[in-house]
C-alpha cells in the first residue's frame, strides 16, 4: 500500500509538471501529427512505384507509432533525470522511502499515459487521412501491451541516457542522435529489402525492430498471417532488462 502511495505521489507530481509545460505538451503531440500529415497525407504511399513509402499505408503504422514510443520516453526521462540532478532532487529523494525503481516506474506510468493518448491520435489520423485500414481482430488488443512494453523499454533507455549525459542539452542531443537512426533502421519506414544485405543483422539488434514487427503483425499483418508472439516475448525481455538497468542507473548519490 505504501509503495503504491509513493508511486502515486511521484506520478501525480510528474503528470502535473508535464501538463503545465505547454510547449512540451504541444510538441509531444504535434510531432507525430505532422509526421502523419506529411508522409501519410501529403507524400502518400505509392505501392507500385518502388522506393520509399512503396508499401500500403497501413504498413507504416508501426513507424508512426514509433515516433512517440521512441522519442518521447528517451527525451522526457533523460531530461527529467538531468533536471533532477541539476536541482539536487535526487539527493533529497535518496533520504525518502522512494526507491529508484519506484521513481522510474512512476515516470514510466506517466509516459504510458501520454504516449497512449498520442498513439490513439496517430491511429485516428492515419485512418482518417490515409487509405489505411486496420482489421478488427482479437489480436489487435495486443497493440496495448506492445506500446506499454516499448514505453517501459525506452524509459529505461532514457534513464541510462540521463545518467550518462551531463546536462539536459546533452540528453536531448544524445536521444536525437540515437533515436533518429533507430526510427528509420528498425523495419519501420524502410523495408529490409531496401537496405544492403549486410545491414540486415544490425536491424535485428535494434529493440525498436521487435516493436515495429509486432505492431505490424497485429495491425497490418493479420491479412498476411504474420506472427507476433516471438516479438512480444523479445520485447518483454528487453523491457525488463532496460527497466532494471535504467533503475539501477538513476543517480541517487554523487
Amino acid at each position: 500500500m505504501s509503495r503504491a502511495h509513493r508511486i502515486r505521489a511521484e506520478a501525480v507530481a510528474a503528470w502535473h509538471s508535464f501538463l503545465r509545460r505547454r510547449t512540451a505538451v504541444f510538441f509531444t503531440f504535434f510531432f507525430p501529427v505532422i509526421l502523419v500529415v506529411i508522409f501519410g497525407a501529403l507524400v502518400r504511399t505509392q505501392p507500385t512505384d518502388g522506393g520509399l513509402f512503396a508499401e500500403p499505408a497501413a504498413y507504416y503504422i508501426p513507424g508512426y507509432l514509433a515516433t512517440v514510443v521512441l522519442f518521447t520516453p528517451l527525451s522526457r526521462v533523460g531530461s527529467e533525470i538531468a533536471r533532477h540532478r541539476d536541482d539536487n532532487r535526487f539527493e533529497k529523494l535518496a533520504t525518502t522511502p522512494l526507491s529508484r525503481a519506484e521513481w522510474l516506474f512512476a515516470h514510466t506510468v506517466v509516459n504510458v499515459l501520454i504516449i497512449g493518448v498520442a498513439s490513439l491520435l496517430i491511429l485516428g489520423l492515419v485512418l482518417l487521412l490515409t487509405d489505411a485500414t486496420v482489421p478488427l481482430t482479437g489480436s489487435l488488443a495486443l497493440l496495448v501491451p506492445f506500446i506499454i512494453l516499448a514505453v517501459i523499454l525506452f524509459c529505461g533507455f532514457g534513464a541510462l541516457l540521463g545518467r550518462l549525459a551531463d546536462s539536459q542539452d546533452g540528453v536531448i542531443a544524445a536521444s536525437n542522435t540515437i533515436a533518429l537512426p533507430l526510427l528509420f533502421l528498425s523495419d519501420t519506414f524502410i523495408t529490409l529489402e531496401q537496405l544492403p544485405s549486410w545491414f540486415g543483422p544490425l536491424v535485428e539488434l535494434s529493440p525498436l525492430t521487435y516493436f515495429a514487427r509486432g505492431v505490424r503483425a497485429v495491425t497490418y499483418g493479420p491479412a498476411a498471417g504474420d506472427s507476433y508472439l516471438v516479438e512480444l516475448g523479445i520485447l518483454t525481455l528487453l523491457a525488463v532488462g532496460f527497466f532494471v538497468a535504467g533503475a539501477y542507473a538513476i543517480p541517487r548519490t554523487d
Binding site: S2, H5, R6, R8, A9, E10, V12, A13, A14, H16, S17, R20, R21, D87, N88, R89, E91, K92, L93, A94, T95, T96, P97, L98, R252, T253, D254
Partner: protein, 332 residues
C-alpha cells in the same frame, strides 16, 4: 549525551581534492549543531556523508545505524541549492513530498509553520526567492523528522522570514528534534546552535558552545572610535593604559569592559580629541570564524577594525553585540 549522530574518521576525496579529512563528530538527541566554515571547506560534503547520499571512508552512525539503513521517515534533509518541480504549487509540493512517506504532517500545518498559507496555491516558480526557500524548508519538515539536516536553510530569505524560520527551528528543537545545520550567517548559527563546529579544509578545527568558542578564540571586547584625529586619540588612550591601535579614520581599543567606557571618554575629552562615534563591541562568533580561518576582509587596516566594520555591513539581520554609545560632536 545521548548521541544520535556520530562520525569517526570520516574522509572523502574527489580525485586529489580532499573534501573531508578525518572528521570526528557527535551530536546529541535534541541538540542543534551548527556547522560553519568557508566556501569549499566541506560542509555540504559532510551533510551528504551524514545523510548517506555520498559514500565516504570512516564510520558514521545515525541512531546507531549506517545512514543508508536508517528509517527514512526519521530523517529530514534540505540539500544545498535544492529546487523542487517549478510548476507545482507550494501545497502540491508538500503533498507530493509528504506522499513519499508512510506518514506525513498535515500540509496546511506545514504551510502555516513556514509562513506560506497565503501563497499556498502559487506555482513554485512564481514565488519570491525567500518564499521558495521556505517551501524547501517545509519539504524538509513534511515528514516530521526526528533528525533534521539543513544545508544553508535561510539563504535568500528576507530578514522577517529568516526570523520566523529561526523561531520555527527553535520550537522544533524545544520539541526534541535534533538539528544539524550549516550557514554562512554567524548570527543565525550563534542564535540557534547549542554547539558549533568550524570546518576548514575538510577538518573540524573547533567544536564547542558559541560562548566557549568566543571565550577561546573571539578575542577581547573592544571600543571603536571613528575620528579624523586617530593618531592623537590612540596616543592619549595608550598613555592611560588602553591598548589602542590607530588607522586613518579609526581607533580600535581592545579589552575594554563596559565600565571602562567612561574612563576612555574622559581621556579623549581631556586630550581634546573629537570623534564622530564610539562603538563598543563584544566578540562574536564571527570573530571566532575570522580568527580560526585566518580570513580578513579586503581593505581592512587592522584586523580588529575590519571585523567590526564588516560585521555591520555583511548582513542587515546580523546582530553583532555592538552599541553606539556616544557621539563625539559635543567633545570638539
Amino acid at each position: 549525551m545521548n548521541e544520535v549522530v556520530v562520525a569517526e574518521g570520516v574522509r572523502k576525496a574527489y580525485g586529489e581534492t580532499v573534501a573531508l579529512d578525518g572528521v570526528d563528530l557527535a551530536v546529541g538527541h535534541g541538540e542543534v549543531f551548527g556547522l560553519i566554515g568557508p566556501n569549499g571547506a566541506g560542509k555540504t560534503t559532510l551533510i551528504r556523508a551524514l545523510t548517506g547520499t555520498t559514500p565516504v571512508d570512516g564510520e558514521i552512525q545515525i541512531r546507531g545505524q549506517r545512514p543508508t539503513a536508517v528509517d527514512s521517515d526519521r530523517i529530514g534533509l534540505l540539500p544545498q541549492s535544492f529546487a523542487p518541480p517549478a510548476r507545482l504549487t507550494a501545497r502540491e509540493l508538500l503533498d507530493y513530498y509528504g506522499g513519499l512517506y508512510d506518514s506525513a504532517r498535515e500540509t496546511d500545518a506545514v504551510l502555516s509553520d513556514v509562513g506560506l498559507t497565503e501563497a499556498a496555491d502559487s506555482w513554485y516558480e512564481t514565488l519570491s526567492g525567500g518564499q521558495q526557500r521556505r517551501v524547501c524548508v517545509g519539504i524538509a519538515l513534511v515528514n516530521d523528522p526526528e533528525i533534521l539536516f539543513l544545508d544553508e536553510p535561510t539563504t535568500g530569505i528576507d530578514p522577517a522570514g529568516r526570523r520566523a524560520l529561526w523561531s520555527l527551528l527553535e520550537s522544533l528543537a524545544d520539541g526534541g528534534t535534533t538539528i544539524f545545520l550549516t550557514s554562512h550567517s554567524m548570527a543565525e548559527v550563534e542564535r540557534l546552535s547549542d554547539r558549533v563546529g568550524l570546518l576548514q579544509a575538510g577538518q573540524l578545527v573547533a567544536v564547542g558552545t558559541p560562548l566557549e568558542l568566543i571565550d577561546a578564540h573571539g578575542g577581547a571586547s573592544r571600543l571603536v572610535l571613528e575620528t579624523d584625529e586617530s593618531k592623537r586619540a590612540a596616543a592619549a588612550l595608550t598613555t592611560e593604559g588602553f591598548a589602542a591601535t590607530a588607522s586613518p579614520q579609526e581607533v580600535v581599543v581592545d579589552g575594554v569592559s563596559p565600565i571602562d567606557i567612561g574612563d576612555a571618554v574622559t581621556v579623549l575629552s581631556t586630550a581634546g580629541v573629537g570623534y564622530d562615534s564610539l562603538t563598543w563591541t563584544e566578540p562574536s562568533l564571527e570573530d571566532v570564524y575570522l580568527q580560526l580561518t585566518g580570513e580578513t576582509f579586503e581593505g581592512a587596516m587592522t584586523p580588529g577594525a575590519s571585523v567590526v566594520t564588516e560585521a555591520s555591513q555583511t548582513d542587515a539581520t546580523e546582530e553583532p553585540d555592538a552599541a553606539v554609545v556616544a557621539s563625539g560632536e559635543g567633545h570638539q
